[in-house]
């Protein structure tokens, strides 16, 4: 057993562009579910639209990188409106089914061979970071930065800095929103929709605004992920939505830092398990093959999600009184 490599890879999982991307998506879900009480099971669709919006507008329409990212965000806003206007009047579990179906429609549309010229079909898209100028906007000169497990080349460092900046702005924005009067109305809707309606508030408009803001966060998550890796339709499957839900519930749904810390814990644990389980199998401690060991960590995610919801639905940092709306 090579403990050095395992610990190194695990610690590296603390800060990666993937972790930041999923923290952003979890933050979006916190807005949707934790604060507004909306059961969105389509966060993968928001991420896909952000990522593809960025990549397609750069590759097909020749936008600069920042223009492409803005297109990605506008795409997520439109998706939120498209999804929200008809469905926000429905009961919670209906919204869940509609959002999961909509996210699958989005993924299938990006996957189909009918639009290969634009979407790249199953191969996905790549090269947009170079042609859009995101890579050349890198302020860091080439070289190696950081120390120990956190050693990055200048390109990764640029994505990390950019991603952390976006995440910081989003966290601050959510924090500011939630202590504003707007945030109190949103929490009120979560607790008792009828009471807020009786106060003369337009509940539907508030919910739609919450859906849009959370959707922007989700789209940003997709964009950060795309800024680091290729855009591939195989990423935006429903499992990813469920992983983000697990991260969110782990940290605490109705908290500001919960989703961020939850995502960090989730991806660090994933890095740890994906390193240690095959090693254990190789060393003969676990009587399974290497591929079986790799599968095992997703089994653990599922079990973890169930235990979490049964025994600690408020998550690590949450307050149980904040989750009485989950009925």
């Amino acid at each position: 057993m090579d403990w050095g490599t395992i610990i190194n890879n695990t610690l590296a999982g603390l800060l990666t562009p993937t972790t930041i991307a999923f923290a952003l998506a979890a933050l979006g879900l916190a807005m949707h579910f934790g604060f507004a009480g909306l059961l969105n099971f389509g966060i993968a669709g928001f991420m896909a639209i952000g990522a593809y919006g960025y990549a397609i507008s750069v590759l097909t329409f020749g936008f600069p990188w920042w223009g492409g990212m803005i297109v990605g965000i506008i795409g997520s806003i439109l998706f939120a409106i498209l999804l929200g206007v008809p469905t926000l009047r429905l009961r919670g579990d209906y919204l869940a089914i509609v959002t999961i179906a909509a996210a699958e429609i989005v993924r299938l549309l990006f996957l189909t061979t009918a639009f290969t010229d634009v979407t790249g079909s199953a191969d996905g898209l790549f090269g947009y970071n170079n042609s859009g100028g995101f890579t050349s906007a890198n302020p860091f000169p080439p070289g190696s930065y950081g120390w120990g497990p956190w050693t990055y080349n200048s390109e990764t460092l640029w994505v990390l800095t950019f991603g952390l900046g976006v995440l910081a702005v989003c966290v601050w924005f959510l924090w500011a929103l939630m202590r504003s009067p707007w945030g109190r109305v949103i929490k009120g809707i979560r607790e008792d929709e009828e009471a807020i309606r009786a106060l003369g508030k337009n509940v539907f408009a508030y919910k739609l605004q919450a859906l849009i803001i959370g959707g922007i966060f989700g789209g940003m998550g997709g964009i950060i992920y795309a800024a680091f890796a290729n855009v591939s339709p195989g990423v935006y499957v429903t499992s990813i939505t469920f992983f983000i839900w697990t991260s969110l519930l782990l940290g605490g749904a109705a908290t500001i830092w919960g989703p961020v810390i939850g995502a960090v814990i989730f991806w660090t644990l994933q890095a740890f398990l994906s390193n240690i389980l095959p090693e254990l199998a190789l060393a003969g401690i676990l009587p399974v093959s290497g591929t079986q060991a790799a599968t095992l960590r997703f089994v653990l995610v599922g079990i973890g999600l169930m235990l979490l919801v049964i025994y600690r639905p408020q998550g690590i940092f949450g307050d149980k009184r904040e989750l009485t709306f989950v009925k």
């Binding site: 429905l90 579990d93 869940a96 429609i105 299938l108 997703f298 599922g302 999600l305 919801v309 989950v326």
Partner: protein
Amino acid sequence: MNFLSVGNPKRFLKLVVVVFTALIIGLGLLVSPAQADSVGEDFDHAVLGNVKIKGEPIGGVRIVVEGPSYTAEVRTSDDGSWLVGVPTKDTYTVTLDQETLPAGIAVLEGGATQDVDLGLSDRVVKNFFIGQGERNEVSFFDQFVARLIYGINFGLMLGLASVGLSLVFGTTGLSNFAHGEMVTFGAVAALILGTVLQVPIWVAIPAAVILSAGFGWSLDAGLWKPLRKKGLGIVQLMIISIGLSLTLRYVIQFFIGGGTEQLPGFDSPKINFFGSVALSINDLYSMGISIVAILGFALWLLKTNTGKATRAISDNPDLAAASGIDVDKVVRLVWIVSAALAGLSGVLWAYFRPGIKWDMGTQILLLIFAAVTLGGLGTAFGALIGALVVGILVETSSLFIPSDLKYVGALVVLIGVLLFRPQGLMGRKQRVG
């Protein structure tokens, strides 16, 4: 100006004449030989290929290359090779004329017309994957009938899974995201019995259904009943069912791996019915079994005491409990019936796809939800009708839209139903809340 309207008979006649003339000229062109196996060799770029089946070259196959400003056609030489020089680096469409292939041979993948892109290199090789197969030359009506029958088969199969999901929702309020894994479970149980333990398949399938029923019993006894007692809300239960779905899915992958496995006798012979509709013996069995199972289920739900109790709980759980119905006992039975039907539909679906894969249940989970919602959440017979509509829609829609988008149609219907008639076809408005 709508010059295609049939309103003016004279104009219409003229159009018909023009079309026919064009067709005749077109056919004449087809007959006239274009025997060269390579054209345009003077150009800098070329598209080329080989037409072979199992290493045997096929000569005289007509290939047409079309580009933005250039069109050429060749016939393959005796060694199967062909080459078309092209003037510019562009995307060209290459068409293999299937009429010129020997009888019973067709392009199997990607269709007879495919794109090649000369973006990166000067010469691009384009080979078609050909083999023995049905050529796509049946009339639209025949295709439609064939798709309709496949759709009914698929719909009945979906129906088996959907009525169970609907009953569980009706009696417990749970939208069970792990229902897809209950479908996979049945197929995997049949696989293990049929191929690993070498049990004859006609024993393995009923045994798999019984195992599925036991699986449903253990899920309720080990998980859902304790959670109901704990008083968890339906949202929490729903998220737990997602965790359960992930767990089961990857446990199944743990045991059977990521590949596709086949049940014994999956490639049964096909029988031709009226014209072009070819159904395999498995398809016929599958439809028969589905119909018998659904009829049995309907009899149980309508005629027996437990069936009536189930419907009573779906209607109003508190009233049912107050009337002396043992809700827990009925819910337990509902889980058993639901899991057994899901397991059976998994076995049938494994023959329909064909193949067993660890995520096969997840693939149709949303279609099952679509069927249940279309019929009306919580209504068993509505779910059945919804499943038939979804099945037929999925299969026939591939006549109009790319086949890799065929599930999209069903999902759009799902969303549409929730928008315009959230109670579904058979549901009542009060459930929408």
